[in-house]
Symmetry: C2
């Protein structure tokens, strides 16, 4: 009965269409379709190849503006492509500079104490942190295209670099070699970033899923915060390991004779102040500058306090010495041979990738907010160049900082000029003010780092992951616990593995669905989603929801046959007529390879043995071409390939119904 | 004008549907749709999880028959699941045995000379080849579910094993250690196969694409044939390397003083005979037994010839000695500790995987021809068990042989009983006839191997690859040249890498298409495939052809925006009205993860800035659920999610048109 409804509706629709397009001459008896399945003309092989390379590597079509330009125009465009500052510099004015100046000064006040603390995380002297906030931001300002990112050392990369480097060289005993290896790693981090961008392989970083990053960042934040207990409690004998078990054992083991109450008093009270400032900034977005300048205020207050109370004589550890003057060259310190070359390379690739992930995520976020386009590959070239130059000027791996970029944005930055302003402030600090930090207690740096990394723990995002996608949640938790209980690398490995497992699942076990007719229409939909959809007697309609490739062709074939077997068993139980036609709805099948073609051939033969006819509905252009190239279209029968499921159902002769 | 046609057609279809389903009460003014987008009830988390685990690992639903069975019934079913022989043994009869006997005798006559030759390829004594055709086929006959596969040593695995093993141990100098490592590798090959099957990870072997296998097999066949030049030309100093350059240098270097003309005469004349037999068998399928028994005939004739002419005194190398008696135990020879443990493990995993790939491919092929179901995972358990037992009884890695399985099939085998018959013949040979092979010339073994591996070069498949899918062709050629010019492992590595690259491309750069309305229908199709499809003024319809995951979410967002920008530019040039609505057709989008949700949120905001409204058409059940869970459905507006593109287009008020 349902079939009748469908047919009637369909034929009415057909009638309609017939009056609409009287030019089509067709015989309604034999060929009741207005449109045939389109077989696109096969493209030239070279054309096809270039088109696909273009889409893969030059998705943004970066060469389009060059078309039809004069030589000079092309040169200016090329210059602008490499140095976006040439582009925005032309229209730069005082109004814009005002915003950039305020933003630059704000992030400078935030970055100076952070830099000193992050350098400690990387087991490097404090000045190296400051160096990293001087040269790289300058380079980036010329080459980068993000308007909001704030460049410099960041907590997670510092931790990763520090924990990887200290496995190779002892940072205290062999300080010089350690620093050399750090520069080597920085150099190769830059080379990695540059290479990925230059060869337009930027899409590779998309393989670290959002979920994995959330978990990794959260885990790293907790690990970093735990490391700060050393400074905050004034413990001198602290473990080198980063996992929570070792750290907590180290902390509790020293409770009776290792904690320093003066240090604790300073550290904890200022931490409370910083967290309060953060809370204020969150409550009232206009007071964003409160948490931004709070760290500098803490540093000034606490330094003054220690200086007048001589607390350093009572076991409160202080920064003591920051080398004066700007970045010394370090090109000669990079290992280009020897056993540390390979190690530096490996560490560099890893920290370069993490740095990239962070910077691109930040860049994209703010680009979306302000709605400007960000070419990820161009960004990578800029980040790579700045790290290569950085490695030759005593900097370690720099990237975009989440917290400082947010402050930069809220302070009203307009262009990368704010990075130049920040860079100038750091320059002045290095030249004239390093001695002021002598009495700054380490506990303050620990509090500043803790209050900074707290923001990396994104509970809201985790709860959203749980709500939306359980698999993402598992990936997130895997990365999180991996970082906390094992190490940063293990956490990263877990994150990448789970991300990959998801991709593998996607390509090996695609979904399929049984379709039914929505009463009164020519529309066929998943019967699980639309309970009102009715199956058509004698016809089984299966939709395959993926490209059919070697990785899933066999599964798809077997799944379709299983649908058929299950359905026939049910029909038999109910004493209903069996299936005579199997319609495969191929709209979602965007591509098919030789394995897929073979699978269809096998499916066809299996169906023949069961006396079931195979009909195909709406294969896409690529699929149609390949069905024809492989002669399988002839095997199945050209006349059994339809524009839509409705057409295929209409094709089934009524007389065959019982 | 086109819009009018669509609308008219649509409204007529609507009218039709209204008369069809008078029970639906709706107001045609506000809600002109019969069916709303279905929001399936969210499933219980545990249920969802088990369902997805079941679909991933237990796709064939192997536990279904157990339902509602008595305890005894369950026991019998379980026994049958592990030992399919219990199942088919019940109905076994004389008529079936007749077929199996003939098939078994035929493959036995083919396998005995092949075994001796393949053992040479693996640098093992000839008896080990025969051992491998005795125990493993017996085990398989009890546990395997393929009815046509012929088990034993095969050329490609022998070559792979031999070339991997001789890198670790010299097979001539340290023959005992070499053999022990071979058994170790065999043991771990079996463990690998068993583990994959037991944990139902069998889908992993699907990652070696059909194209890659064709190339790999072809390359291996040529490499094996080249190796046989040693035996065929009677060269004594032959290179250990397998790449074509080294081998040809070795061959030409010995042309003046290393070739033995008697050997060549025997070898080449019998090779010609074998190839002729093969040709006859191919021409007339009924004469399949000609190439099947030809090798045995060759062995008998040539052995007799050498015996009476004393050709072995003139430099014709002969087999000399095959140890009499069946397999000695070798459990104690397996390395479970020491440096060879790790190496044996690695080699075992690799050769186990290759053996698996070959056996499963054969099993599937014949299962499809005879239309019976083959559970890949159960097969792996059977293959794994047989290799583990084999490693303890002096066998090396056994698997299904392409050539012998085809003969088995053509000779009319009905069940795995033919393997038992073959096994018995090999048993008799080992016990009573080994001395008969003393004078068999090595050249004959070389000819037999060459004529066997020629069948692995599948030119037809390669030309099909070229026709259907250029990427597959590249993968095939990569594997082929990798094996020929570098080594078997390099070829395998290339094959796997290219297969993976294809998967990565698939998941990072999914296709998108612009849709247009087919005049006179409510159907929307790709305008590139259907040139008659007309764009709807003011509306851009984009179809996304893939699940939206972290690996492609960003690309998809940017690609949609690029479609919009390109289209608007074109419209501007022509002076036509701009786009006001963007319809995303989501039928092919089967799933979306948190990254995808974020991308849609960003897309929505970008569109808002451009004054373009976002409409969604036909999201699937999973996507609809996640859109709701993430509140993005509320952001976009529930009323802007439609059942179909036609509905979405109908929604756009006509008054907004110019």
């Amino acid at each position: 009965m349902n079939r009748d409804v469908t047919d009637e509706a369909a034929s009415k629709e057909m009638d309609t269409s017939m009056c609409m397009s009287p030019s089509h001459d067709h015989n309604p008896e034999n060929l009741p379709y207005v449109h045939k399945v389109g077989v696109p003309r096969r493209q030239n092989l070279l054309k096809q190849f270039t088109a696909s390379v273009k889409e893969t590597f030059f998705a943004g079509n970066p060469f389009q503006p060059f078309k039809g330009q004069s030589r000079l125009g092309k040169f200016v465009l090329a210059l602008q492509a490499v140095f976006p500052i040439v582009g925005w510099g032309k229209d730069y004015n005082l109004a814009r500079f005002k915003g950039d100046l305020i933003a630059g000064l704000t992030i400078a006040s935030l970055c100076i104490p952070q830099d000193i603390g992050y350098a400690k995380l990387a087991n490097l002297p404090p000045q190296n942190g400051l160096y990293t906030s001087f040269v790289p931001p300058l380079i980036y300002a010329f080459m980068g295209s993000s308007r909001d990112i704030a460049i410099g050392p960041v907590a997670v990369v510092s931790l990763l670099l520090g924990s990887l480097l200290q496995k190779e060289i002892d940072p205290v005993k062999d300080a010089l070699e350690y620093r050399r290896l750090a520069f080597t790693a920085t150099f190769f981090a830059g080379i990695t970033q540059f290479t990925l961008g230059f060869f337009r392989l930027g899409f590779l970083i998309d393989f670290l899923s959002h979920a994995a990053i959330v978990g990794f960042m959260g885990g790293a934040a907790i690990t970093i915060a735990l490391q700060q207990l050393k400074g905050l409690l004034g413990i001198s004998n602290f473990t080198r390991k980063t996992d929570i078990v070792s750290v907590m054992r180290s902390v509790w083991g020293t409770i009776h004779h290792g904690w320093n109450w003066q240090t604790m008093a300073i550290g904890i009270s200022f931490l409370a102040f910083l967290l309060l400032a953060k809370h204020i900034g969150k409550k009232n977005k206009k007071l964003f500058w409160v948490p931004a300048i709070a760290p500098m205020v803490c540093v000034i207050l606490s330094t003054f306090l220690v200086y007048i109370t001589h607390a350093d004589k009572h076991g409160v550890q202080i920064v003591r010495h920051i080398k004066k003057g700007i970045n010394p060259p370090s090109f000669k310190e990079i290992y280009f041979t020897g056993k540390y070359f390979g190690k530096g390379f490996r560490i560099g690739v890893l920290s370069g990738m993490i740095g990239l992930t962070e910077a691109i995520a930040i860049g994209r976020t703010f680009a979306a907010v302000k709605d400007y386009h960000l070419d990820g590959n161009k960004e990578m070239v800029a980040l790579g160049t700045m790290n290569v130059v950085g490695s030759m000027t005593s900097c370690y791996v720099a990237t975009g900082s989440f917290s400082r970029s947010a402050v930069n944005f809220m302070a009203g930055c307009n262009t990368a000029m704010s990075n130049i302003v920040m860079s100038c402030v750091v320059f002045l600090t290095l030249e004239f003010m390093t001695s002021l930090f002598k009495y700054t207690p380490n506990a303050i740096l620990a509090s500043i780092i803790i209050s900074a990394v707290v923001g990396l723990i994104d509970v809201e995002a985790v709860s959203l992951l749980w709500k939306i996608d359980k698999f993402d949640f598992v990936a997130c938790m895997g990365a999180f616990f991996g970082v906390i209980f094992a190490s940063v690398e293990i956490g990263l490995l877990i994150a990448v593995s789970i991300s990959f497992a998801k991709i593998l699942l996607q390509v090996t076990r695609p979904r399929t669905a049984l379709l039914g007719n929505l009463p009164g229409t020519a529309v066929y939909r998943n019967i699980l989603q639309y309970p009102e959809a009715k199956k058509v007697p004698g016809i089984l309609i299966v939709r395959v929801d993926s490209a059919i490739y070697f990785s899933n062709s066999n599964y798809i074939k077997e799944r379709i046959l299983r649908w058929l077997t299950d359905e026939e068993e049910q029909l038999k139980k109910k004493g209903l007529p069996t299936i005579q036609y199997l319609v495969v709805e191929m709209s979602p099948v965007t591509d098919i390879d030789t394995s897929g073609i073979h699978a269809f051939e096998e499916l066809y033969r299996s169906l023949q043995k069961r006396d079931v006819q195979l009909l195909l509905a709406n294969p896409g252009p690529v699929v149609v071409n390949k069905l024809h190239a492989s002669k399988i279209a002839t095997l199945i029968g050209e006349s059994k390939i339809f524009l839509s499921v409705a057409d295929a159902v209409r094709y089934v002769p009524k007389t065959e119904e019982p």
